[in-house]
Point group: D2
Chain length 385, copies 4
């Protein structure tokens, strides 16, 4: 077992803003032109772990769009996410990654069965691993949030699922779940940074178990929920009674467009809501909105109002405003997750990696939503790897 | 050893807003007319501890003003801190506490030596304990923040201190420290909810050790610093680099008047600043103001702007606004501290109670400022009492 | 013509929070126990006008609920809107107003035709005027916002409307419009403080013209839109380009319940939106939400984020948070509108009173939405009365 | 009289951020690569005025530092104020302006009398006007805010002043006033965009009158005070009683460094305070701070809390946060002021131009601080030019 051998990071949605920032940033870290700000795994207390070094991470991926990475990186530079000097430093190397990107799966363009589609996806990953002599590959989903996909009886067992997938023209899995299936079939761990269905189907969890593979997710915690997971424990630990917690999210870019549309937002809003109730120990009134505000570009903004009650019923309040670049917040976590999941795989861990709950709005394998406790759990888990 | 025997709570500044709210609230809790919102020690996970029950706490105290408690409680009701129905429920019993209040020490009215003054203060407490058959008394300072008091060589040893105190007309200790001295001499534990000097002099710490007494402090964490201690770890745990953390505090009431005056604010601002540097692991630009805004009455408000840097140097920000009633935030903590300190005394603990750092801006006996870690430490410590 | 003769104020929704606060406040002003804070018409520069004095205003009204005014006033006192000492000062006089309240119209309980219902409503008002020897009566709608009512061909002409109203069991007008019809038939001016349809139907505007009556509305401007109408001109006058203006409203009380329901909110949101586009001179991205947050009680809160562009395309922003008591903001305006509309009626003005646009989110008779210009227009108009 | 003839704009502090942004922006406007966002004088309703066109403005100036303009522009581009494509478009032309810059006056490096120094400054301007055949020159101060300068008896009359100035080694005028003196002596109008003393001395105002020259100032209104001048009238016009108005300003760049220093901030804070009292019609508690937060770079941020009282004493509040680029806010106003002041000069106006109060925190020649009224006054005045 050698966690530090060349490791693959295969990105689903590899030309998206998060992926492009992660790729650009990884190249910049390798080139030594930026510090590892935002990369938790680069903090001193993880130094003794045998995590893959920046040099050891090889990136490839699937996407359904074909805009060249270099062009996406230039757009992100215009938008203020990638400084010009960083872009200059990595420009040439983006093409190397470009050559590792393959066409993703989209139901509208898939003429055959989902079995065939999954095989193609898995082959892309296997070829990638073989070409680069990779010890293992982490498949990580950073594609756009999908609309909610209906539950089907076939999701309950692997046999039923695979039978249904073999029927030409039938769409029994949403793209994120097909990607997870392909990853597992290719012997890869799977991480979902989105709230899409992904691996969260009994049949797929069963497959992961059978393949002895670890997985993690879901929905990267990078903004409003991140702050909530630091603040909500304050009220609980001080025996203050939260009466309502209202939130508004303003998103620009493609994310705003996708998520302000109610069908896609469904999974996102549900994922945000679950955490709050757990954090506070009870349900509170918690209206929540996601608005599309295109002029914000790559920025996102959240405003929350917490109304709470103290001693003798005194009414008090806390408001916060969070303004950040979504991709700059998410990208270093993508690199962290690649390193930690790879190390977990190398260490023989299987099933949901609850210790990575620190990174997610809707963590699998744990009910812990409190940020400080999650950070401690991550550190403790990593120390034992 | 019986932690649940009648226990005294002796308040320095017993007619102030915090003390009056604590007293009124304690009577209301005993009368069963309010829930214990804001009282950490009343949370289920402390149930197994033998903390003094609300019925077991007997309150007395010193103050240099003489406004009757009932009048102070009525003012706090006007100001929105004490609901009218609570005031109605406890009115009669306030007089019982009133009869336990004694005149406090003020250098301007003290004609003799500080030794004499300390003896009188200690006698007041001893009489109180004897009258009520108290197992022990916690002396707790909630008086107004003092101006900074100069360090003197006599503070370094108990012998030198006592020699200086005996000189008529000499003021070698500020009132808070004289109160701490008297408390220790009377065999009582001492808690400082203010940033005043109090027990924090080598001579007094030495006296506490000799008397085998526990003590705790200092400066109750009830607002801006409370939120900071929940939020700052977010940045540290996510490897985000805080560049500046600016804060503004608007205070009404007597607190605003005292603290906006730069001489008194000195110790408060220093106490707030120490914590932030520790929380972030490095010094950051952190301008901080306390303004007197009388129309806010018992309310206080804080606005903070955190400017931070993420992946690839992306500039982002967090702002928060906290609006609360200072006394409603502080009073339940005063009751908590009385219960926990009494239990620690009963359990034979001595010296600074670092596990109570959860309650303080500038905790003695610990360097931990992170709220979640402090909460965990408190729970662990209490479980072992 | 004597504008200062006894004048009636007939409130539709007379037991609601706004009406109860207006009534309680009027009685308190008469009793001299409060200053006229929030009453624009009581400012010195209106002194020379012959507006009805507080003593000259006689109040009656309709409501479909029957909770006694005194009970409603007590609830508002609990909620922090009416100070206890004000309640004490006016308690007896509330019963005098109570005796002037009559049962309002509700389609669900109306068995006959709308003609019959309107006659009953008009008779109530006429009796009220006769009993008190009133020179004139202002009918003012402060009832809950109605769901949108479909446009009908009959709304286009008075004849067609009255023919349809005569059909038993047919509901051709929503309650607010039936109230406006009854008011006009009783020879009264009509003011709509809500976004409901009210008088805004060609048939009713025609009736007002035929009766030579003035009217005003609609939708009282008391919070987010008030601030917007002061701030938006800043951007316009400085040639700054607003790119988006996002808003979130948190409402407690019955208002939150009514308006967070999308059907009722329709008219409210439309009314808020129209103004912003006019103020900025162009449509901007302006997502807007109204959330029901019951624990806020009578308070309401708005948060807006304005994203704008300056010289050389620099991106900048303004956020504001507004926290107020809805009824305390609205009630003095209700009194102002009664005084000004009565004076306009006395002066022989007819049709929409555009000069009262200062008070409304969606002003009739003017396109001016800028607050400063509206204030100047009001002052100029009043000076000429 | 030909307002549109070539006009000079002579900047004091010509290498500062505001000046550099104004110069860069003017060149970009001439090149047609940016719209005139933020330039009030470019709005359609000023089209009929014969203001100097962008092509007609010739720029020169004094500064005591020597960093080349092109380098300063590059720094401002790094800081996000000047977009890279704008910098590219004007780069060559910056050198043309560079050649028009001369060494400014600093008391520490002036060995002779202030009379000599003033003569040199005036000669620089006269040469500039002659070289370019300028009809007139507007001298405009955008240099760093000076420390308060003590009032001297010599400031009271021109004769006394000039006698004192002639004494070698004596510093009877601060640099801003010496610049104003030189401007007037050179027959130029003078505008002060800073809160420094500038022309505001009886002797200099007398000189302006004798020379029949107009002048304007002082202290450009670009942030917190701008918002206040739009919001404060809301409270006044609605008869709401402001109880306190607290403000915090966070500044980066050189401005933060200069102004957070209490000696320099004196004039700035005084200038901010005067306006608020005038706007509200009474003095209110209004604590105000300016903090130096270097990491903000060219950005500035203000947070204000307005606590106010409404009907029946209801306590309510408004908070706002303003985040902007100081230079991007100020630069277009500098160009406006050059155009309007030149037109006023051409039209034969003399003395303080109160109609330009729209641009200033502490306007000369008017007591009007309300933004909407100032905008109307500017438009009316300009229409009559």
């Amino acid at each position: 077992m050698d966690a530090a051998a060349p490791t693959g990071l295969w990105l689903i949605g590899a030309r998206g803003s998060v992926a492009t920032t992660a790729i650009t940033g990884l190249l910049a870290l390798r080139a030594g032109v930026v510090p590892a700000t935002g990369c938790v795994s680069a903090q001193p207390h993880f130094d003794e772990l045998r995590l893959p070094a920046w040099e050891d991470l090889v990136v490839g991926g699937h996407d359904i769009v074909s805009t060249p990475l270099a062009e996406r990186a230039a757009q992100l530079s215009e938008a203020g996410v990638v400084p010009p000097r960083v872009l200059d430093a990595v420009r040439g190397r983006l093409d190397t990654v470009e050559s590792e990107l393959r066409e993703g799966y989209h139901p509208a363009t898939n003429s055959g069965s989902q079995t065939d589609a999954a095989r193609r996806l898995a082959d892309d990953i296997t070829d990638f691993a073989r070409r680069h002599g990779l010890a293992r590959v982490v498949v990580l989903n950073v594609s756009s949030t999908e609309p909610a996909f209906p539950g089907l009886p076939e999701h309950g067992s692997l046999e039923a699922l695979e039978a249904a997938m073999a029927v030409p023209g039938r769409t029994v899995l949403p793209p994120s779940s097909l990607a997870a299936y392909a990853a597992l079939r290719a012997g890869c761990s799977y991480v979902d940074f989105t709230p899409s269905t992904g691996i969260r189907l009994p049949a797929l969890e069963h497959l992961a178990a059978r393949q002895s593979l670890p997985y993690a997710g879901s929905d990267g915690k990078t903004g409003e929920t991140l702050v909530r997971s630091a603040l909500a424990p304050l009220f609980a630990s001080r025996a203050l009674r939260v009466r309502s917690w209202a939130g508004t999210n303003l998103l620009g870019g493609g994310d705003g467009l996708t998520l302000a549309d109610s069908e896609h937002a469904g999974s996102k809003l549900a994922s945000k809501g679950r955490g709050l109730a757990t954090l506070l120990g009870e349900d509170v009134v918690a209206p929540l909105h996601i608005d599309n505000v295109p002029d914000l570009g790559e920025q996102k903004m959240a405003w929350d109002n917490v109304s709470f009650e103290g001693f003798l019923g005194a009414r008090m309040s806390l408001q916060f405003t969070w303004t950040g670049y979504d991709s700059a917040l998410a990208a270093p976590l993508v690199l962290d997750l690649a390193r930690f999941t790879s190390a977990a795989h190398a260490a023989g861990q299987t099933g949901p990696l609850g210790a990575l709950g620190f990174y997610f709005k809707d963590p699998m394998g744990t009910d812990e939503h409190r940020l400080a406790e999650q950070a401690a759990e991550l550190a403790g888990w990593a120390a034992k790897l």
